[in-house]
Symmetry: C2
Subunit: 222 residues, 2 copies
Protein backbone atom coordinates (compact mmCIF):
# COMPACT_ATOMS: atom_id res chain seq x y z
CA UNK A 1 0.00 0.00 0.00
CA UNK A 2 1.43 3.39 -0.98
CA UNK A 3 2.27 5.89 1.78
CA UNK A 4 -0.17 8.36 0.22
CA UNK A 5 -3.06 5.86 0.13
CA UNK A 6 -2.29 4.90 3.72
CA UNK A 7 -2.62 8.52 4.85
CA UNK A 8 -5.88 8.95 2.90
CA UNK A 9 -7.37 5.79 4.45
CA UNK A 10 -6.45 6.92 7.96
CA UNK A 11 -8.13 10.27 7.32
CA UNK A 12 -11.19 8.43 5.97
CA UNK A 13 -11.45 6.32 9.15
CA UNK A 14 -11.19 9.45 11.29
CA UNK A 15 -14.00 11.09 9.29
CA UNK A 16 -16.15 7.97 9.67
CA UNK A 17 -15.57 7.86 13.44
CA UNK A 18 -16.32 11.57 13.70
CA UNK A 19 -19.65 10.94 11.94
CA UNK A 20 -20.26 7.95 14.25
CA UNK A 21 -19.64 10.20 17.29
CA UNK A 22 -22.33 12.65 16.14
CA UNK A 23 -24.74 9.77 15.48
CA UNK A 24 -24.09 8.23 18.90
CA UNK A 25 -24.71 11.60 20.59
CA UNK A 26 -28.00 11.93 18.71
CA UNK A 27 -29.16 8.49 19.90
CA UNK A 28 -28.12 9.17 23.53
CA UNK A 29 -29.81 12.60 23.55
CA UNK A 30 -33.02 11.30 21.93
CA UNK A 31 -33.31 8.30 24.26
CA UNK A 32 -32.58 10.44 27.34
CA UNK A 33 -35.12 13.05 26.20
CA UNK A 34 -37.71 10.29 25.86
CA UNK A 35 -37.18 9.03 29.42
CA UNK A 36 -36.95 12.52 30.99
CA UNK A 37 -39.75 14.14 28.86
CA UNK A 38 -37.38 16.92 27.73
CA UNK A 39 -38.72 18.76 24.63
CA UNK A 40 -35.67 21.06 24.33
CA UNK A 41 -33.36 18.07 23.99
CA UNK A 42 -35.74 16.67 21.33
CA UNK A 43 -35.41 19.87 19.30
CA UNK A 44 -31.59 19.70 19.53
CA UNK A 45 -31.59 16.20 17.99
CA UNK A 46 -33.83 17.36 15.12
CA UNK A 47 -31.68 20.38 14.25
CA UNK A 48 -28.42 18.43 14.75
CA UNK A 49 -29.34 15.95 12.00
CA UNK A 50 -28.13 18.40 9.34
CA UNK A 51 -24.55 17.94 10.70
CA UNK A 52 -24.84 14.16 10.33
CA UNK A 53 -26.11 14.52 6.75
CA UNK A 54 -23.23 16.87 5.94
CA UNK A 55 -20.68 14.44 7.42
CA UNK A 56 -22.21 11.58 5.39
CA UNK A 57 -21.71 13.60 2.21
CA UNK A 58 -18.12 14.39 3.20
CA UNK A 59 -17.22 10.77 3.98
CA UNK A 60 -18.80 9.54 0.74
CA UNK A 61 -16.96 12.21 -1.26
CA UNK A 62 -13.69 11.12 0.40
CA UNK A 63 -14.43 7.51 -0.62
CA UNK A 64 -15.03 8.46 -4.24
CA UNK A 65 -11.87 10.63 -4.30
CA UNK A 66 -9.74 7.75 -2.99
CA UNK A 67 -11.30 5.37 -5.53
CA UNK A 68 -10.62 7.83 -8.38
CA UNK A 69 -7.11 8.81 -7.27
CA UNK A 70 -5.62 5.48 -6.17
CA UNK A 71 -7.82 3.03 -8.11
CA UNK A 72 -7.31 0.49 -5.32
CA UNK A 73 -8.02 -3.22 -5.77
CA UNK A 74 -8.92 -6.20 -3.57
CA UNK A 75 -8.64 -5.52 0.15
CA UNK A 76 -8.61 -1.72 0.00
CA UNK A 77 -11.46 -1.67 -2.52
CA UNK A 78 -13.55 -3.85 -0.20
CA UNK A 79 -12.63 -1.62 2.73
CA UNK A 80 -13.81 1.55 0.97
CA UNK A 81 -16.95 -0.18 -0.19
CA UNK A 82 -17.57 -1.09 3.50
CA UNK A 83 -17.13 2.56 4.51
CA UNK A 84 -19.75 3.54 1.90
CA UNK A 85 -22.19 0.97 3.35
CA UNK A 86 -21.45 1.96 6.97
CA UNK A 87 -22.05 5.69 6.33
CA UNK A 88 -25.47 4.76 4.90
CA UNK A 89 -26.24 2.81 8.09
CA UNK A 90 -25.01 5.69 10.28
CA UNK A 91 -27.11 8.22 8.38
CA UNK A 92 -30.21 6.04 8.84
CA UNK A 93 -29.42 5.71 12.56
CA UNK A 94 -29.32 9.53 12.69
CA UNK A 95 -32.77 9.64 11.02
CA UNK A 96 -34.07 7.06 13.50
CA UNK A 97 -32.74 9.18 16.39
CA UNK A 98 -34.69 12.14 14.92
CA UNK A 99 -37.77 9.89 14.81
CA UNK A 100 -37.27 9.01 18.51
CA UNK A 101 -36.85 12.72 19.37
CA UNK A 102 -40.04 13.65 17.48
CA UNK A 103 -42.01 10.94 19.30
CA UNK A 104 -40.35 11.93 22.60
CA UNK A 105 -41.67 15.47 22.12
CA UNK A 106 -45.22 14.04 21.88
CA UNK A 107 -44.66 11.81 24.93
CA UNK A 108 -43.41 14.83 26.94
CA UNK A 109 -46.89 16.42 26.72
CA UNK A 110 -50.03 15.29 28.62
CA UNK A 111 -51.78 12.89 28.80
CA UNK A 112 -48.69 11.24 30.29
CA UNK A 113 -48.11 7.60 29.41
CA UNK A 114 -45.76 5.85 31.90
CA UNK A 115 -42.33 5.26 30.34
CA UNK A 116 -41.42 1.53 30.63
CA UNK A 117 -38.27 1.05 32.73
CA UNK A 118 -36.97 -1.54 30.27
CA UNK A 119 -36.26 1.25 27.74
CA UNK A 120 -33.16 2.21 29.75
CA UNK A 121 -31.59 -1.25 29.41
CA UNK A 122 -32.63 -1.50 25.76
CA UNK A 123 -30.99 1.87 25.03
CA UNK A 124 -27.78 0.83 26.82
CA UNK A 125 -27.58 -2.46 24.92
CA UNK A 126 -28.27 -0.72 21.59
CA UNK A 127 -25.54 1.86 22.18
CA UNK A 128 -23.08 -0.87 23.18
CA UNK A 129 -23.86 -2.66 19.91
CA UNK A 130 -23.32 0.53 17.90
CA UNK A 131 -19.98 1.33 19.57
CA UNK A 132 -18.77 -2.28 19.33
CA UNK A 133 -19.71 -2.51 15.64
CA UNK A 134 -17.53 0.52 14.84
CA UNK A 135 -14.67 -0.77 17.03
CA UNK A 136 -14.95 -4.06 15.13
CA UNK A 137 -14.63 -2.18 11.83
CA UNK A 138 -11.63 -0.09 12.86
CA UNK A 139 -9.78 -3.12 14.34
CA UNK A 140 -11.10 -5.60 11.72
CA UNK A 141 -12.18 -7.68 14.73
CA UNK A 142 -14.64 -10.44 13.73
CA UNK A 143 -15.00 -11.72 17.33
CA UNK A 144 -16.45 -8.38 18.42
CA UNK A 145 -18.56 -8.25 15.23
CA UNK A 146 -20.01 -11.71 15.97
CA UNK A 147 -20.80 -10.57 19.53
CA UNK A 148 -22.75 -7.58 18.16
CA UNK A 149 -24.79 -9.86 15.89
CA UNK A 150 -25.67 -12.17 18.79
CA UNK A 151 -26.58 -9.20 21.06
CA UNK A 152 -29.34 -8.20 18.63
CA UNK A 153 -31.50 -11.02 20.02
CA UNK A 154 -31.44 -9.37 23.47
CA UNK A 155 -32.61 -6.04 22.01
CA UNK A 156 -35.37 -7.84 20.07
CA UNK A 157 -36.41 -9.43 23.37
CA UNK A 158 -36.46 -6.02 25.13
CA UNK A 159 -38.52 -4.66 22.24
CA UNK A 160 -41.12 -7.46 22.37
CA UNK A 161 -41.47 -7.11 26.14
CA UNK A 162 -41.97 -3.32 26.01
CA UNK A 163 -44.45 -3.55 23.11
CA UNK A 164 -46.55 -6.10 25.02
CA UNK A 165 -46.71 -3.71 27.98
CA UNK A 166 -47.76 -0.85 25.69
CA UNK A 167 -50.54 -2.93 24.11
CA UNK A 168 -51.93 -3.67 27.59
CA UNK A 169 -51.73 0.03 28.44
CA UNK A 170 -53.66 1.03 25.28
CA UNK A 171 -56.30 -1.64 25.94
CA UNK A 172 -56.73 -0.47 29.53
CA UNK A 173 -56.90 3.27 28.86
CA UNK A 174 -58.11 4.66 25.49
CA UNK A 175 -56.94 8.15 26.52
CA UNK A 176 -53.36 6.86 26.39
CA UNK A 177 -53.59 5.29 22.91
CA UNK A 178 -51.97 8.27 21.16
CA UNK A 179 -48.97 8.81 23.47
CA UNK A 180 -48.50 5.02 23.79
CA UNK A 181 -48.40 4.80 19.97
CA UNK A 182 -45.67 7.46 19.95
CA UNK A 183 -43.77 5.44 22.53
CA UNK A 184 -44.29 2.32 20.39
CA UNK A 185 -42.74 4.06 17.36
CA UNK A 186 -39.81 5.36 19.46
CA UNK A 187 -39.08 1.87 20.80
CA UNK A 188 -39.32 0.35 17.31
CA UNK A 189 -36.82 2.97 16.09
CA UNK A 190 -34.44 1.96 18.88
CA UNK A 191 -34.77 -1.66 17.80
CA UNK A 192 -34.04 -0.64 14.19
CA UNK A 193 -30.90 1.21 15.36
CA UNK A 194 -29.70 -2.11 16.80
CA UNK A 195 -30.48 -3.71 13.41
CA UNK A 196 -28.24 -1.15 11.69
CA UNK A 197 -25.44 -1.86 14.19
CA UNK A 198 -25.92 -5.53 13.23
CA UNK A 199 -25.61 -4.57 9.54
CA UNK A 200 -22.31 -2.82 10.29
CA UNK A 201 -21.03 -5.88 12.16
CA UNK A 202 -22.01 -8.10 9.22
CA UNK A 203 -20.16 -5.78 6.85
CA UNK A 204 -17.04 -6.16 9.02
CA UNK A 205 -17.21 -9.96 8.84
CA UNK A 206 -17.75 -9.78 5.07
CA UNK A 207 -14.80 -7.45 4.80
CA UNK A 208 -12.48 -9.69 6.81
CA UNK A 209 -13.64 -13.07 5.54
CA UNK A 210 -14.52 -11.99 2.02
CA UNK A 211 -17.72 -13.92 2.46
CA UNK A 212 -21.22 -12.52 2.42
CA UNK A 213 -22.43 -13.24 5.94
CA UNK A 214 -25.08 -10.50 5.82
CA UNK A 215 -27.73 -12.97 4.76
CA UNK A 216 -26.42 -16.07 6.55
CA UNK A 217 -26.10 -14.96 10.16
CA UNK A 218 -26.90 -18.46 11.40
CA UNK A 219 -23.23 -19.30 10.72
CA UNK A 220 -22.27 -17.03 13.63
CA UNK A 221 -24.69 -18.19 16.27
CA UNK A 222 -23.50 -20.75 18.74
CA UNK B 1 -15.67 3.85 -22.55
CA UNK B 2 -14.22 0.48 -23.60
CA UNK B 3 -16.47 -2.01 -25.38
CA UNK B 4 -15.84 -4.53 -22.58
CA UNK B 5 -16.79 -2.08 -19.82
CA UNK B 6 -19.90 -1.14 -21.78
CA UNK B 7 -21.03 -4.78 -21.90
CA UNK B 8 -20.34 -5.24 -18.17
CA UNK B 9 -22.34 -2.13 -17.28
CA UNK B 10 -25.29 -3.27 -19.37
CA UNK B 11 -25.24 -6.64 -17.61
CA UNK B 12 -25.06 -4.83 -14.25
CA UNK B 13 -28.15 -2.77 -15.08
CA UNK B 14 -30.04 -5.89 -16.11
CA UNK B 15 -29.11 -7.57 -12.80
CA UNK B 16 -30.26 -4.50 -10.87
CA UNK B 17 -33.60 -4.41 -12.72
CA UNK B 18 -34.04 -8.13 -12.14
CA UNK B 19 -33.56 -7.55 -8.41
CA UNK B 20 -35.98 -4.60 -8.60
CA UNK B 21 -38.60 -6.85 -10.25
CA UNK B 22 -38.41 -9.32 -7.36
CA UNK B 23 -38.67 -6.48 -4.84
CA UNK B 24 -41.67 -4.95 -6.61
CA UNK B 25 -43.42 -8.35 -6.67
CA UNK B 26 -42.80 -8.71 -2.93
CA UNK B 27 -44.36 -5.31 -2.19
CA UNK B 28 -47.39 -6.02 -4.44
CA UNK B 29 -47.95 -9.46 -2.90
CA UNK B 30 -47.56 -8.20 0.69
CA UNK B 31 -49.89 -5.22 0.19
CA UNK B 32 -52.50 -7.38 -1.59
CA UNK B 33 -52.25 -10.02 1.16
CA UNK B 34 -52.88 -7.30 3.74
CA UNK B 35 -56.05 -6.07 2.02
CA UNK B 36 -57.39 -9.58 1.22
CA UNK B 37 -56.34 -11.21 4.56
CA UNK B 38 -54.42 -13.94 2.70
CA UNK B 39 -51.96 -15.77 5.02
CA UNK B 40 -50.58 -18.03 2.23
CA UNK B 41 -49.51 -15.00 0.21
CA UNK B 42 -47.86 -13.61 3.38
CA UNK B 43 -45.80 -16.79 3.74
CA UNK B 44 -44.69 -16.54 0.08
CA UNK B 45 -43.30 -13.04 0.66
CA UNK B 46 -41.37 -14.20 3.73
CA UNK B 47 -39.76 -17.19 1.99
CA UNK B 48 -39.13 -15.19 -1.23
CA UNK B 49 -36.91 -12.70 0.62
CA UNK B 50 -33.95 -15.10 0.37
CA UNK B 51 -33.98 -14.59 -3.43
CA UNK B 52 -33.80 -10.82 -3.00
CA UNK B 53 -30.88 -11.16 -0.57
CA UNK B 54 -29.08 -13.45 -3.02
CA UNK B 55 -29.62 -11.01 -5.89
CA UNK B 56 -28.31 -8.14 -3.73
CA UNK B 57 -25.11 -10.13 -3.12
CA UNK B 58 -24.78 -10.87 -6.83
CA UNK B 59 -25.24 -7.24 -7.92
CA UNK B 60 -22.78 -6.00 -5.31
CA UNK B 61 -20.22 -8.62 -6.35
CA UNK B 62 -20.66 -7.50 -9.98
CA UNK B 63 -20.02 -3.89 -8.91
CA UNK B 64 -16.82 -4.82 -7.10
CA UNK B 65 -15.64 -6.92 -10.05
CA UNK B 66 -16.18 -4.03 -12.49
CA UNK B 67 -14.36 -1.66 -10.12
CA UNK B 68 -11.43 -4.06 -9.78
CA UNK B 69 -11.23 -5.02 -13.48
CA UNK B 70 -11.78 -1.68 -15.22
CA UNK B 71 -10.76 0.75 -12.48
CA UNK B 72 -13.25 3.26 -13.89
CA UNK B 73 -13.14 6.97 -13.03
CA UNK B 74 -15.54 9.93 -12.93
CA UNK B 75 -18.95 9.20 -14.48
CA UNK B 76 -18.72 5.40 -14.49
CA UNK B 77 -17.37 5.35 -10.94
CA UNK B 78 -20.30 7.46 -9.78
CA UNK B 79 -22.68 5.21 -11.67
CA UNK B 80 -21.40 2.05 -9.98
CA UNK B 81 -21.42 3.75 -6.61
CA UNK B 82 -25.11 4.61 -7.32
CA UNK B 83 -25.85 0.95 -8.11
CA UNK B 84 -24.30 -0.04 -4.75
CA UNK B 85 -26.54 2.48 -2.94
CA UNK B 86 -29.67 1.46 -4.90
CA UNK B 87 -29.21 -2.27 -4.14
CA UNK B 88 -29.07 -1.37 -0.44
CA UNK B 89 -32.36 0.53 -0.80
CA UNK B 90 -33.94 -2.35 -2.73
CA UNK B 91 -32.86 -4.90 -0.15
CA UNK B 92 -34.38 -2.77 2.63
CA UNK B 93 -37.61 -2.47 0.61
CA UNK B 94 -37.65 -6.28 0.43
CA UNK B 95 -37.26 -6.43 4.24
CA UNK B 96 -40.08 -3.89 4.64
CA UNK B 97 -42.31 -6.02 2.37
CA UNK B 98 -41.56 -9.00 4.66
CA UNK B 99 -42.55 -6.79 7.61
CA UNK B 100 -45.85 -5.95 5.89
CA UNK B 101 -46.47 -9.65 5.15
CA UNK B 102 -45.78 -10.62 8.79
CA UNK B 103 -48.20 -7.96 10.04
CA UNK B 104 -50.71 -8.94 7.32
CA UNK B 105 -50.68 -12.51 8.69
CA UNK B 106 -51.71 -11.14 12.12
CA UNK B 107 -54.39 -8.92 10.55
CA UNK B 108 -55.80 -11.95 8.66
CA UNK B 109 -56.80 -13.58 11.97
CA UNK B 110 -59.67 -12.53 14.27
CA UNK B 111 -60.48 -10.16 15.86
CA UNK B 112 -60.83 -8.46 12.48
CA UNK B 113 -59.85 -4.82 12.30
CA UNK B 114 -61.40 -3.05 9.26
CA UNK B 115 -58.76 -2.38 6.57
CA UNK B 116 -58.77 1.35 5.67
CA UNK B 117 -59.66 1.87 2.00
CA UNK B 118 -56.94 4.50 1.66
CA UNK B 119 -54.29 1.74 1.83
CA UNK B 120 -55.07 0.82 -1.78
CA UNK B 121 -54.27 4.32 -3.09
CA UNK B 122 -51.21 4.57 -0.85
CA UNK B 123 -49.91 1.24 -2.18
CA UNK B 124 -50.50 2.31 -5.79
CA UNK B 125 -48.68 5.62 -5.28
CA UNK B 126 -45.77 3.91 -3.50
CA UNK B 127 -45.36 1.35 -6.29
CA UNK B 128 -45.48 4.11 -8.92
CA UNK B 129 -42.71 5.92 -7.04
CA UNK B 130 -40.60 2.75 -6.89
CA UNK B 131 -40.99 2.00 -10.62
CA UNK B 132 -40.41 5.63 -11.62
CA UNK B 133 -37.26 5.87 -9.47
CA UNK B 134 -35.73 2.88 -11.27
CA UNK B 135 -36.81 4.20 -14.69
CA UNK B 136 -35.18 7.49 -13.74
CA UNK B 137 -31.94 5.66 -12.92
CA UNK B 138 -31.85 3.61 -16.12
CA UNK B 139 -32.63 6.64 -18.32
CA UNK B 140 -30.67 9.13 -16.17
CA UNK B 141 -33.88 11.16 -16.16
CA UNK B 142 -33.83 13.90 -13.48
CA UNK B 143 -37.35 15.13 -14.37
CA UNK B 144 -38.83 11.77 -13.41
CA UNK B 145 -36.58 11.63 -10.34
CA UNK B 146 -37.81 15.06 -9.19
CA UNK B 147 -41.40 13.89 -9.68
CA UNK B 148 -40.75 10.87 -7.42
CA UNK B 149 -39.35 13.14 -4.70
CA UNK B 150 -42.42 15.41 -4.85
CA UNK B 151 -44.81 12.42 -4.81
CA UNK B 152 -43.47 11.38 -1.38
CA UNK B 153 -45.57 14.16 0.20
CA UNK B 154 -48.76 12.48 -1.07
CA UNK B 155 -47.74 9.15 0.48
CA UNK B 156 -46.89 10.90 3.76
CA UNK B 157 -50.37 12.45 3.63
CA UNK B 158 -52.01 9.03 3.02
CA UNK B 159 -49.98 7.65 5.93
CA UNK B 160 -51.05 10.40 8.36
CA UNK B 161 -54.70 10.01 7.38
CA UNK B 162 -54.70 6.22 7.83
CA UNK B 163 -52.85 6.43 11.18
CA UNK B 164 -55.41 8.94 12.52
CA UNK B 165 -58.19 6.52 11.61
CA UNK B 166 -56.38 3.66 13.36
CA UNK B 167 -55.88 5.71 16.51
CA UNK B 168 -59.63 6.40 16.63
CA UNK B 169 -60.32 2.69 16.11
CA UNK B 170 -58.02 1.70 19.00
CA UNK B 171 -59.57 4.31 21.28
CA UNK B 172 -63.08 3.09 20.43
CA UNK B 173 -62.46 -0.64 20.78
CA UNK B 174 -59.68 -2.02 23.06
CA UNK B 175 -60.20 -5.50 21.56
CA UNK B 176 -58.86 -4.14 18.26
CA UNK B 177 -55.69 -2.54 19.72
CA UNK B 178 -53.46 -5.49 18.78
CA UNK B 179 -54.58 -6.00 15.15
CA UNK B 180 -54.76 -2.20 14.63
CA UNK B 181 -51.16 -1.95 15.87
CA UNK B 182 -50.15 -4.55 13.28
CA UNK B 183 -51.93 -2.53 10.63
CA UNK B 184 -50.15 0.59 11.90
CA UNK B 185 -46.76 -1.08 11.47
CA UNK B 186 -47.69 -2.36 7.99
CA UNK B 187 -48.74 1.14 6.88
CA UNK B 188 -45.57 2.67 8.33
CA UNK B 189 -43.54 0.11 6.37
CA UNK B 190 -45.33 1.13 3.19
CA UNK B 191 -44.47 4.76 3.91
CA UNK B 192 -40.83 3.79 4.45
CA UNK B 193 -40.82 1.98 1.09
CA UNK B 194 -41.81 5.30 -0.48
CA UNK B 195 -38.92 6.92 1.43
CA UNK B 196 -36.49 4.41 -0.11
CA UNK B 197 -37.88 5.15 -3.60
CA UNK B 198 -37.19 8.81 -2.78
CA UNK B 199 -33.61 7.89 -1.80
CA UNK B 200 -33.15 6.18 -5.17
CA UNK B 201 -34.52 9.26 -6.99
CA UNK B 202 -32.13 11.47 -5.03
CA UNK B 203 -29.23 9.19 -5.98
CA UNK B 204 -30.20 9.61 -9.66
CA UNK B 205 -30.12 13.40 -9.38
CA UNK B 206 -26.78 13.24 -7.60
CA UNK B 207 -25.49 10.96 -10.29
CA UNK B 208 -26.60 13.22 -13.13
CA UNK B 209 -25.85 16.59 -11.57
CA UNK B 210 -22.86 15.52 -9.54
CA UNK B 211 -24.40 17.40 -6.67
CA UNK B 212 -25.53 15.96 -3.39
CA UNK B 213 -29.28 16.61 -3.45
CA UNK B 214 -30.03 13.86 -0.94
CA UNK B 215 -29.99 16.28 1.94
CA UNK B 216 -31.22 19.39 0.11
CA UNK B 217 -34.54 18.25 -1.40
CA UNK B 218 -35.98 21.76 -1.06
CA UNK B 219 -34.07 22.64 -4.25
CA UNK B 220 -36.45 20.38 -6.19
CA UNK B 221 -39.77 21.50 -4.83
CA UNK B 222 -41.77 24.06 -6.73
Amino acid sequence: MSKHLDVDLERLHRSLLRMAGYVEDAVVTAATALRSRDPEACARVVTGDADIDRLENEVQDECLKILALHQPVAVVLRRISAVLMITTDLERIGDLAVGIAERAAVVSRPPYVPIPEAIEGMTRRTLEMLRASLDAFVNLDTTTAARVIRADDDVDHDNAQIINGLVERMQADPALVEPALSLFTAVRNLERIADHATNIAEDVIYLVNGEMVRHHPEALKG
